[in-house]
Amino acid sequence: MAAPDTLVPAISANDLRLRYGDREVLHGITFEVRHGETVVVIGGSGSGKSTLLRTLVGLEKPSSGEVRINGVDITKANTREMDAIRKKIGLAFQGGALIGSLSVGENIALPLVEHTDLEPTTIEVMVRIKLEQVGLSGFENYSPAELSGGMKKRAAFARALAMEPEILFFDEPSAGLDPITAAGIDDLILNLKKTYARSIVVVTHELASAFLIADRIILINRGNIVAMGSVQEIQNSQNPLVRQFLDRVADSDQDDQVDHMKMYTEGIE
């Protein structure tokens, strides 16, 4: 694998807009992720952060603006170019999205079996290494339905890592998990960051976890970037929307998401 050109950012989004019908959900998002950098996108439910993630990996087509991955504009890439890019990125979905008809091991082996000419025995060894990496050794013959929520997420991590991607995306890695499992997931991401120097984008609403793993944080609200900066800068920001999010002040129309957030994050600073 050729060393990535460090002058070109791993990901750059430029004036990204996305509309569903006549409702615009992303209103001109511009930011960059440098090579080896971990960027955490935070925001409340419905802020557009998951949509942003889906747009970055090409699952949603933006109505205008561009997304460049390693310098290639994916909004204009053809199928072949897109396939080449997709083999260099790994995405761990919020609910795991493991293929239900395959075992956990087969799920992790899937990209290797389909895209490489490795021997089956080599693939088997690689699957075990990936499972060990996420703390799921010995689970290769389980069906995804037999795993708990946290285990599914970790298995999804292992699958995202299978092709040794340059860029990793995590959608809500610790949402809906108990604090101990969530902390384990944070450790896992920190580990990946230290050992492999990959570019990582994490979308989350868990503040504690964001502060722990991020090099830079982007706060999104209603489809706009409200603030962007290092962990320190965000923590010290006086921007009222940042303060509201950090100090957990409820909007008048906010749902009970805030209560859940308190429940999961309290005491793990």
């Binding site: 493991l98 239900g100 990209p111």
Partner: protein, 265 residues
């Protein structure tokens, strides 16, 4: 006027739906040869699908077509007896089974077993983001899921239809022996004399088209599944209803064509 507009809109929707089916079939055909996915793996999945959709359907199709054979013989004998033409039971059964009921009953059983399963499988994968996961792994869902299904169904439906013909004739034979003074041998000879090769081939051609239509409808309903478990249920239902409707319509068209061709020849 609103009535006319509604009819127009419904017509437009139907045409768009059939266009969607054709598009899915065209894309699958293109991907079968041009997809960057490994051909061997696609075939492997096709064999798996063929085992589930084809071989798995053998017992139930055998049973149903056997009974249908007996029923046709009984119904036919009711009239033929009055004309003193009981020896025609064999040709009545063999022609109605091979030209019509074998392929049709096969298609309807396969719709119930596999058309619905395709819609449910793909619909569930849509709901659980598995389709998105495939896409982000550079595995085109159509190449990965739909192409093997088309391959399997295009091969298995004609095979099942031929088997159904055989079982239907066997059903008629049981009645022939018990109720119409045939022996096993004489019934088979009467069947052979009554059948033209064309009777079997028209049935086989029809069932090939049925197989493609059932796959296209099942997969398209799966891909267009709405949100949640309710969406999966709805796509499964409409996969079955739409498939049955289309299969009957195509059957009508084919039978008309074959009838016209027969008149010319």
């Amino acid at each position: 006027m609103p009535f006319v507009a509604e009819v127009g809109a419904a017509t437009e929707r139907s045409v768009a739906y059939v266009g969607g089916l054709a598009q899915l079939f065209g894309k699958s055909l293109w991907l079968l040869f041009m997809s960057p996915l490994k051909r061997g793996r696609i075939l492997q999945r096709a064999v798996h699908e063929a085992m589930v959709a084809g071989v798995g359907a053998l017992p139930i199709i055998s049973l149903i077509t056997f009974f249908v054979g007996v029923i046709i013989a009984l119904q036919g004998a009711y009239e033929l007896q009055r004309l003193g033409a009981m020896q025609l039971v064999a040709s009545l059964v063999s022609i109605s089974i091979t030209r019509e009921l074998g392929p049709l009953v096969t298609a309807i059983v396969v719709i119930g077993r596999s058309g619905s399963a395709f819609a449910a499988e793909i619909g569930t994968m849509r709901v659980t983001e598995e389709l998105d996961a495939l896409e982000t792994m550079a595995l085109d869902p159509v190449a990965f899921l739909v192409v093997p299904k088309f391959l399997a169904m295009a091969v298995m439906l004609p095979c099942l239809a031929i088997w159904a013909d055989f079982m239907g004739v066997l059903g008629g034979c049981v009645f022939g022996i018990i109720g119409a003074n045939f022996t096993f041998g004489s019934y088979l000879i009467a069947t052979r004399d009554a059948l033209l090769m064309r009777d079997v081939t028209t049935g086989v051609v029809k069932s090939l088209v049925f197989g493609l239509v059932i796959t296209a409808v099942g997969c398209q309903e799966g891909f267009s599944t709405g949100i949640g478990a309710e969406g999966v249920g709805r796509s499964t239902t409409s996969a079955v209803v739409v498939s049955i409707l289309l299969v009957i319509l195509i059957d009508l068209v084919f039978t008309t064509l074959f009838y016209a061709a027969r008149g010319v020849a």
